[in-house]
Subunit: 197 residues, 2 copies
DNA sequence: CGGTATTCATACAGGTCAGTGTAGGCAGGC
DNA sequence: GCCTGCCTACACTGACCTGTATGAATACCG
């Protein structure tokens, strides 16, 4: 399932639209960017945008889906080749570099969720939930591979640390939040009740 | 400083506006609610709204300021009369009951931050940052009172757990996130390196 | 060479947005 | 009795919103 990336099947205009969406939806917020603005900054007509994506809602879901893929790839790449316990901590380091490079203003999925509170059937909600569930599941697999007990609880706790660090760093002027969260993750991993047999 | 609450000085219309704002801004999102809708649902004319608040931006800041006060009062009330270490854990329980009662869709301040990405000078940003900083500072005072070392790090880590649990519970279908975060906080508090002399 | 897909340019519809203006009603205090 | 503060009612502006319509140019592919 899901073997080949479908990205290259996009038409040039569709690619330009998604690239532009990736920048300005994140920087300015989904509801602050109109389709006229988006099409203009992508160097494309609004007609093309609607021919390619059908609606703003579909485009928003596509933007978040692509960002989700990039985020997962970033994490996987940054943690590869280490042992499982080190990988758990490396996820936090990967989050730090991801925020440096692509996410200084906080989590795009959290922002999207807030912007779509009044549209509960919006197709983006599945993408948003999927991103959060994936991260927790990633932690679950890693702590199982590391031989820890209570994998369910530990995975949720690690995911909470990571989400919270993102919030604090981006909107409370706390640049060290991610590093502190990493240290807390280390404590949780080394807690006696969590050591496997 | 800040001795008496100024709430009772509001005119009846202003109070109705703020009450309505507290409901529909949170439920639907700030940018999804227009001033026409807000005035109509408050049973007030738009003229009155502008006479009382001057602009939507000011009203948004007032809405968040009032929510911030309610949140702080809720936390303080729920944790009072316990010893310091128990209070740290009680903050997590207080968050759980707060979300049950008033915040099932996630953190209003995080949502507001996302909605105002494109308005960096918006007066609400100070309120948002203030709420996050207050929470971390609250933890800092509690862990100091509990005789823990490394108060700065521990406070940030506890705040991250709490923020992250809010995110996971509200937008990842993880109702136990807050309880799990409480357990993690307990582990961090009992970690040998954090015990005071 | 003909057909299909992609894209351009432009104009328009119908609605909502924040914010202002004008005019008047009503109550409490001096 | 008058003035001030609070409020209603309603019309209006100019900008922006999503989405559609019309018509034509370009390029690839059989």
């Amino acid at each position: 399932m899901n073997t080949a990336p479908q990205v290259s099947q996009l038409t040039p205009a569709a690619r330009a639209i998604l690239d532009t969406a990736g920048r300005i939806f994140y920087d300015r917020g989904i509801s602050a960017v109109g389709v006229d603005t988006l099409a203009a900054e992508a160097g494309v007509t609004k007609k093309t945008l609607y021919d390619q994506f059908g609606s703003k809602a579909t485009l928003v879901a596509a933007y978040l889906g692509e960002r989700d893929r990039h985020f997962r790839d970033w994490i996987e790449r940054e943690i590869q080749g280490k042992d499982a316990e080190t990988q758990v901590l490396a996820v936090f380091d990967a989050l730090g570099s991801w925020m440096d490079a692509h996410s200084p203003k906080g989590c795009a999925f959290v922002h999207a969720h807030g912007a779509l509170l009044n549209a509960p059937d919006h197709p983006a909600h599945n993408v948003i939930r999927g991103e959060k569930v994936w991260l927790r599941t990633k932690f679950e697999h890693l702590v199982r591979a590391a031989g820890r007990d209570q994998q369910q609880s530990l995975a949720t706790q690690l995911a909470a640390l990571l989400e919270g660090a993102t919030v604090l760093r981006s909107l409370a002027d706390m640049p060290d939040a991610v590093d502190e969260a990493r240290d807390a993750a280390d404590v949780l991993l080394d807690s006696p009740s969590r050591e496997g047999s």
